[in-house]
Symmetry: C2
Subunit: 319 residues, 2 copies
């Protein structure tokens, strides 16, 4: 019998990541194409179709070996139909992406939110391997998330589930968020939030080794973690404060979801134990004993491949 193969597509604002993956998760080929956002992203389905056709030819793969395409987009997705309510970075609004890609390729197509696909990828082959109940948190410029319960992604009533960056963690007087609210988790625990809080803390810690970077406006969150490693008081105070807030938010979510695995990904997660240690301490303080006993933390393992691997897994799970 021929080996079944799965196509994954992870559509971002600048590139579309593509991969051909087998049932064991081995990547046969992975590559990127430019995201053409001209004309409100109208050519993207065709661009993806052509890219896959060429790759299959190059790899001498017959189309009937392909079980389907799993695609992720950064926006609100109707997962039943692959219809995109809105994906601001791409330019899509009320766009029947799933139907178009299906018509072009003649293959079954499943579409989901990109953060959900990344969570699914980690669930298949990464830090959340095999977990039936998983919370994935992505810490980057913003804070994103993906939640899996009973082995299934939660999309919710209108594809908005797991937008955990917008949980309110500062009830009053919090920083303004892009969503229009204030005090969202994203304003506190993102790379942007860490830098802002470090700046604000300078008056209390004039001796900080971060002073020059702060004053020159070049500080980034990586530097703050490096300063924690060197024992800088400003950095330690800010990171402990941020991780206390993040630990509280994750504990509250975990009390509701009772996950076995909590996966931290995104650029900020490269801080590794400098992030995980204070985060777990805060989590342990705010979680129920039984919630804590059931769960463990891990840093995401699949990096930029999480989305395409999640896409392949979405097909494998649904076929």
């Amino acid at each position: 019998m021929m080996e079944k193969l799965y196509l994954g597509a992870d559509i971002g604002g600048t590139t579309v990541k593509l991969a051909v993956i087998n049932g064991d998760g081995d990547i046969k080929k992975k590559w990127e194409i430019k995201t053409n956002t001209e004309n409100r992203g109208a050519s993207i389905p065709q661009d993806i179709h052509v890219a896959f056709e060429e790759a299959l030819k190059e790899l001498h793969i017959e189309k009937d070996q392909i079980a389907g395409i799993g695609a992720g987009a950064p926006g609100f997705v109707d997962t039943d139909t692959g219809y995109i309510h809105e994906a601001v970075n791409i330019g899509w609004k009320d766009f029947d992406f799933g139907e178009q890609l299906k018509a072009l390729t003649g293959l079954p197509v499943w579409v989901d939110n990109d953060a959900n696909l990344a969570a699914l990828g980690e669930n298949w082959l990464g830090a959340g391997r095999g977990a039936e109940h998983l919370i994935a948190v992505t810490l980057g410029t913003g804070v994103g998330g993906g939640i899996i319960t009973n082995g299934q992604i939660i999309n919710g009533a209108n594809g908005t589930a797991a937008e955990i960056g917008h949980m309110t963690v500062v009830k009053e007087g919090g920083a303004p968020c892009n969503c229009g609210k204030t005090g969202c988790l994203e304003t506190e625990a993102s790379a942007t939030g860490i830098v802002r809080k470090a700046k604000n803390a300078l008056t209390d810690f004039e001796q900080s080794i971060l002073k020059d970077s702060i004053v020159s406006g070049r500080l980034n969150s990586k530097e703050v973690f490096e300063a924690v490693y060197k024992g800088d008081e400003l950095a330690v105070t800010v990171i402990n404060d941020v991780m206390d807030t993040l630990g509280l938010a994750i504990a509250n979510l975990a009390i509701a979801m009772n996950p076995e695995k909590i996966v931290i990904g995104g650029g900020v997660s490269k801080a590794g134990d400098l992030l995980l240690d204070p985060l777990q301490e805060a989590y342990n303080k705010y979680a129920l004993n039984r919630t804590r006993e059931a769960s463990s933390f891990g840093i995401a393992e699949l990096g930029n491949d999480a989305g395409v691997i999640g896409g392949a897994y979405l097909v494998k799970k649904n076929q």
Copy 2:
């Protein structure tokens, strides 16, 4: 063809509620037996078995008409096996309730947490009818919950899911909770929390019509809502404050789950619109626009029958 029937059992600390229900949700018979907590609740499986046997005889129902038993217990349940990790009020610890009831009755048995079953009952025939994604919140002496996503109850990794009364809503200096933490939602938004907050507010509102009840120590949460109706400032302030906190907690959950329905039950929910109006106002303030657009609130409709109806539905869904 004979009509299929479903048996529901809702095991509480003082009584076990029982019912025989058909596939349309019509209750053929409902009754209660005393919960025998002697000997750590060892006789309860036998008591339930005998009660059902007698009822079937009385109703002239043959056993092969019964599709199974759905039972709820107030504790941590392994839903795969019906094993009870712990149910403090009953006296059970590491108790193979499901296996025993199955062996005694010869019927398929499904067991879940009682709050989850109540959510499932409302999901079948009550305020959450037909919702694929639902959050049920029970406001009584404590605060409980049940969460349904993708049409399924979330139990989580060790049966602790939806313990939303223990989400931390006061980060520092909150009231102590039975769980060992402080500032849990249960310490703020339960009947107990409302009464405590009304007492604490008396110094600011000496003219309150609740003064006598507070001083005599007889105040209950129902009286606080009645005082809101009469425009009492202390009562209005306390209820707005409590509902702001509850609205924030539910909004944070809803941002993660994206429910279509949020069902408020328990004794406190009898306040109806006096509770729902300030709660929705707070929810609208803290939820994302898309989250809010997808969701509506309702007061639980099934009262004390929610558990047995949920039990019957658990069988119907799984058979």
